[in-house]
């Protein structure tokens, strides 16, 4: 009997494992190999745990929530200008939330499967583009084309900005002798403040667009809140 797992089986398991932990997990499974069936069952039990752990390490719930809100706000605004009937439809608001859920889930997996190295702003924007393309294609039949296109484009612009400002945690390795980023009160406080400022600004944008585009003073307030929130967060 062979003492090593079949290459095809290993390749399949390796495909599902995030690259950051593929090497050691495949090695461990190889070491525990006693038979094809045992290997398969062990892999089925281990791989989901590894994926969940990787997602937990790379995903930041606050940034994800911010991205989801931005995508939802973009689609709502696009609906206001292109397809207002959707906003008074019984399920309209729920339908407009689907792209946000899909895109955020896709981007979360992209972060987990990303290679362990510094990612350039261009690469981060590319990842957002792929996520938005996924949501766009998924919603092709469910939403009018213009709305879908405008919503996805606006989301791409806003979410890629957020992604560059709040880099995924894979780019900030944790110090072995210090607390993790989310356990560090200074970091947590700074992030929370900037996120509050950002969310407040987005809410104001949506309200001002929804009320009347002529409402210029409100736009000025929005710009001020955005500017103050970010500069203050950066200084801290």
């Amino acid at each position: 009997m062979s003492t090593r797992p079949p290459r095809k089986l290993e390749a399949i398991v390796g495909f599902f494992l995030p690259p950051a932990c593929r090497e050691e997990v495949l090695g461990d499974l190889h070491e525990r190999y006693t038979g094809r069936l045992q290997y398969t069952f062990l892999a089925i039990r281990v791989v989901p745990c590894v994926i969940v752990s990787r997602i937990r390490r790379t995903a930041d719930a606050r940034v994800l929530l911010m991205e989801a809100l931005l995508i939802y706000a973009s689609y709502l605004t696009a609906a206001w200008y292109t397809e207002r009937t959707l906003l008074i439809d019984q399920w309209g608001f729920y339908r407009l939330a689907i792209p946000a859920i899909l895109a955020v889930a896709f981007m979360m997996l992209e972060d987990a499967w990303a290679p362990v190295r510094e990612r350039s702003p261009l690469r981060l924007t590319g990842e957002v583009a792929v996520g938005m393309l996924f949501a766009f294609l998924w919603m092709v039949r469910a939403l009018p084309d213009t709305l879908n296109l405008v919503g996805a484009s606006a989301s791409l612009l806003l979410v890629s900005t957020v992604k560059i400002l709040f880099r995924p945690q894979i780019d900030k390795p944790h110090a072995a002798t210090g607390p993790a980023a989310w356990d560090d009160p200074a970091v947590a406080l700074r992030d929370t403040k900037s996120i509050y400022a950002f969310v407040a600004a987005i809410v104001l944008i949506v309200i001002s667009l929804a009320s009347t585009p002529k409402n210029a003073p409100l736009f000025v307030i929005v710009a001020l809140v955005l500017w103050m929130g970010f500069t203050r967060a950066r200084k801290e």
């Binding site: 090593r4 797992p5 190889h30 990787r54 110090a175 072995a176 002798t177 210090g178």
Partner: protein, 125 residues
């Protein structure tokens, strides 16, 4: 200096396994040691990976990739080692466990204390 968080039972098991295994603490060996320590409970390899990641995020352990070995199909091991914060957290947990042991033995008597010792001895053998 940072104060370590209190540890869960499974975290204590893994830290103890890493402490025992020293240089040879990696996924499979930690799992084997944790299974031995957790008897009669079963320990899943997936749970070991999840908890090791969490311990690393908390700064209690650190990891490095070793050289590839042929018995692992030419793949490297991720070796773990206890950090100062992890050692302190484990010491605190051991002290708490010792205090619990002392109090329960005092209340339930020395005869009771012999029962788990016998059972552990039998299971380990």
């Amino acid at each position: 200096m940072a104060k370590p968080d209190s540890l869960g039972q499974f975290e204590q098991l893994l830290l103890t396994a890493i402490l025992t295994l020293r240089e040879d603490a990696y996924g499979v060996s930690i799992h084997a040691k944790a299974t031995e320590l957790a008897k009669p409970k079963d320990v899943s390899l997936g749970a070991v990976y999840v908890t090791l990641d969490r311990l690393e995020d908390k700064g209690l352990v650190s990891s490095r990739l070793s050289d590839p070995t042929p018995e692992r199909g030419g793949r490297a091991k991720r070796c773990y080692q206890l950090e100062a914060l992890g050692e302190r957290a484990l010491q605190e947990s051991a002290e708490t466990a010792k205090r619990i042991w002392d109090v329960t033995t005092e209340i339930w008597g020395k005869e009771w204390a012999k029962v788990p010792r016998k059972r552990w001895g039998k299971e380990i053998a």
